[in-house]
Assembly symmetry: C2
Homo-oligomer: 324 residues x 2
Amino acid sequence: MSKSSKKYILGVDVGATSVKMGLVDANGRILSRALFQTKAFASKDAFVKELIKQMRALLKKSGTGKNKLAGIGVGLPGRVDFKKGIVHDLTNIKGWNEVPLKKILYKIFKTAIYLDNDANAFASGQLIWGKARVARNAVCITLGSGVGGGLIIEGEVFRGSNFSAGEIGHVCIDINGPSCGCGANGCLESFVGNRYIASRAIEKIKKGQKTLLTKLVNGDLKKITPELITRAARQRDAFSVKLWEQTGTYLGIGLSGIVNIINPDMVIVGGGLSKAGKFIFKPLNRELKKRAMRQHLKVLKVQNADFNDDAGVIGAASLLERER
Amino acid sequence: MSKSSKKYILGVDVGATSVKMGLVDANGRILSRALFQTKAFASKDAFVKELIKQMRALLKKSGTGKNKLAGIGVGLPGRVDFKKGIVHDLTNIKGWNEVPLKKILYKIFKTAIYLDNDANAFASGQLIWGKARVARNAVCITLGSGVGGGLIIEGEVFRGSNFSAGEIGHVCIDINGPSCGCGANGCLESFVGNRYIASRAIEKIKKGQKTLLTKLVNGDLKKITPELITRAARQRDAFSVKLWEQTGTYLGIGLSGIVNIINPDMVIVGGGLSKAGKFIFKPLNRELKKRAMRQHLKVLKVQNADFNDDAGVIGAASLLERER
């Protein structure tokens, strides 16, 4: 079937908090959307049922019949067998264990279906419709509750020997560092993952450090988020500025090692944390210049990711563009 | 020209201490050898002159005329433009700055010539004639005065966006770590490079720790080498065993991060340090099991490199096998 006869792709971005989906056209634009909360479902089966219901509703709402649907792409936060379309397990979503989601979805939708790890889907979106179109080798990083990574090698998403490449968050940058959710310690994620940043902030505040954040959350420190830290930093809260300064430095240390290994011409930074903008990018770039090797820096560009909060949905849809 | 009509390749392994060369057959076996000291030459020009003289002599000695020579492969310890055959600069060999070595050699030998970074050449040798023949994705590491790395991605040596990929030695594993020759600090090389190991040993001995090493070097601590540390460890010198234990642990920490990024099915460890055998491999494997992710470990094999001290020469020769 040619591209032109089937114009639309359904992109689904499964997250630990919410599932976003969108009908995406051949230029990577979202025409119609849907969203539901992940946590509302007690079991994997109930979750998959709702997923299918919502997908059907979105296709119906937008009048996309089979003759217009090129396929479905799904990004998931966990271990996914890209070839077989099986979900090994998910991070922060319980009950997923070797789920043949591709098969399940195919039975219903009878169309081309691609599943991938969400960070790979993100990288794919940047490659097909974003800045990475012009990259030969790129390291894509998404900063959120976890640190996700996707690699582009010689113009293709590189998934590794069993679809697990790009675990950028689990590179040790400090042999004496804090313990990480993965079981090791000193991982990049344990320095720049959302909750680790928040708990670093809380710890400091409890030790008596003054910050606008305390006021912004009315003393309820558990409510501290990266968004609030950025808001406080914009209001020149020295504490928050310094928190981003440290976070950007850690990121730069981790990324410089990855740059030295991969020698990419592009690093793309996305995810919620990247909204901190210059507060993070300035120390990140400084550290890269200090630690990445001279030859590597000659070809390297650091870029903000395209598509903001839509990067997941667009990335998932993009899986169809390259593969079909 | 077919492979069978031109049977031999001249492989040249340029090191900071010595230059080794060998005539290599189509099966990766060295038929004839030559060696000279690198340090003896005051200038780059004198060095290149000697290099050419020795290459000619080896070809003549072995009776390899133009009709039998398939080409020349050269591995160099530094930044090399693999495509253009230009040496940007070398580590620990002065006076090399944008040297068009391929052109220089072609004028004399009128045959196919490939230059590459020595770690890439090493990886190429393992890929063409060694254990990595069966690997899809592999991380090859050579442990010596420096820490060199070569990546095999989807069955090919991966060189990055400007031929600088694989700088495994310059990944930060400790944000508070010692300063490294590259200008940064806490790099893997600053923990496991030969001279750093030796100086860690010397420091401890000076602080009063007892070891067989002191006797083995007659009190001249500057003479401590990895070979001697291994010799002492084999004689159950607790100090030396612990030194390798720490070194293997550092290596495992560094490699686990790289494994999490690349998701290789093989890690190949070569170079002088790998001769420490179990003293290094045991802690290395333990640390990998602790820090590399479950999914990654499922497909991973850690292997000793093939070809021992010939890995450089054979690797250099192998550059011709894949490319012609």
